[in-house]
């Protein structure tokens, strides 16, 4: 049996209603499975790749922003480093570890500025992050909004004071969004814990059952 090529399946996904292969797909388990896999990969792109790479993709053609971000480290030095979460909070059940701080910078027309916890930022703003750890850390940086939509933004080894590469662009939707930085190799478990935060995103500033140090930062997105 001849199956449609990958390119034909891509075209099908763009407009299933007018797809010339719709009849074949309806009766073909293999093609339906492949389409499901392709949709899942698209979801992975939207959740993990798009937010973490959009800034880089746009940056080369957007000189003013690039200039702005070059100024970000200086702005960070001038500002008081925001230690978003230190010490134990009421719902913190993980073990104590080395310190971890998370600092976010938002690019505004007036310049790059440090974001305070709970601060209102433009819903489509670009953010960059800096973390500081007292020990080598397998860092995972996630975000979650009130709908429980989770994005994994970074996963990398860090040590000391590190500006995370690239940046992210917020999704343009109004409402709260919380960022969690965690030193923990169990990415999947951390992601599940982040997802459960969901509607409590404004109140819960720490993830339960996370072994390593963590920090979080809340922003309020306003269109």
């Amino acid at each position: 049996m001849n199956h449609p090529s990958e390119l034909k399946l891509e075209r099908h996904l763009l407009d299933p209603g007018r797809s010339p292969i719709a009849g074949h797909v309806a009766g073909c388990d293999r093609c339906r499975d492949r389409l499901l896999e392709m949709e899942k990969q698209a979801e992975d792109f939207r959740r993990f790749v798009y937010p973490a790479t959009l800034e880089d993709v746009s940056r080369r053609r957007w000189t003013p922003w690039r200039t702005l971000w070059l100024l970000a480290p200086a702005a960070g030095l001038a500002a008081v480093l925001l230690i978003v979460r230190t010490g134990r909070t009421s719902d913190y059940t993980g073990s104590k570890g080395g310190g971890l701080t998370l600092t976010a910078y938002v690019a505004l027309p007036s310049g790059a500025k440090t974001v305070a916890d709970g601060e209102i930022v433009p819903a489509s703003a670009s953010l960059r992050f800096r973390v500081r750890t007292s020990q080598p850390c397998t860092l995972a940086l996630f975000s979650v909004d009130a709908a429980g939509q989770v994005s994994r933004l970074y996963a990398q080894e860090v040590r000391g004071d590190v500006a995370l590469p690239g940046g992210i662009r917020l999704d343009g939707n109004a409402g709260p969004e919380r960022f969690f930085a965690v030193c923990d190799r169990g990415y999947d478990a951390v992601e599940r814990a982040v997802r459960e935060i969901g509607p409590s995103v404004r109140q819960k500033n720490a993830l339960p059952d996370v072994q390593g140090p963590q920090a979080s930062l809340l922003i309020e997105k306003k269109p």
Binding site: H3, S5, K8, E10, L13, Q41, A42, F45, R61, S124
Partner: protein, 159 residues
Amino acid sequence: MNSDRIAELYRTWGPAIYRRCLRLLRDPEAARDATQEVFRKALSSPGKLADPATALPFIYRVATNHCLNERRNAGRRGETELVDLDVAVIHPDFPQRRLVQRVLSRFDSRTQSIAVGVLVDGMEHEEVADVLGISRKTVSRRLARFLEHARKYLERSAA
């Protein structure tokens, strides 16, 4: 092009680029990096990217060229985790189920794109010709040469 338009195009075509890179590189991190690079390259022809009729074959070609180049580079560095591609269509002259890098890398980049298009993606010759902007006759001729040389190479390797 302003940043909002770039973001819109990236949201539209990014998934297809990512899938293409994932299929050829078989590694999410490598695919993520490649997706950025491919989209940047595609942005240099904004007209093609903005027209839905031309965008998909265009990004397919750019992504294929970029990722096959990444594979060649990875092969030179000895990164064997990138080497195997599943064959979608078992060709009578190429009974293997995997298209391995040591065979693929013996050919020029255009022939590689043709072999991957037909064997790995299951594309018809006309479809490959359309994507690569070459004649169907060229596709057939280069594929025949690829199959013949690949068969001889694999026979020699087996002996």
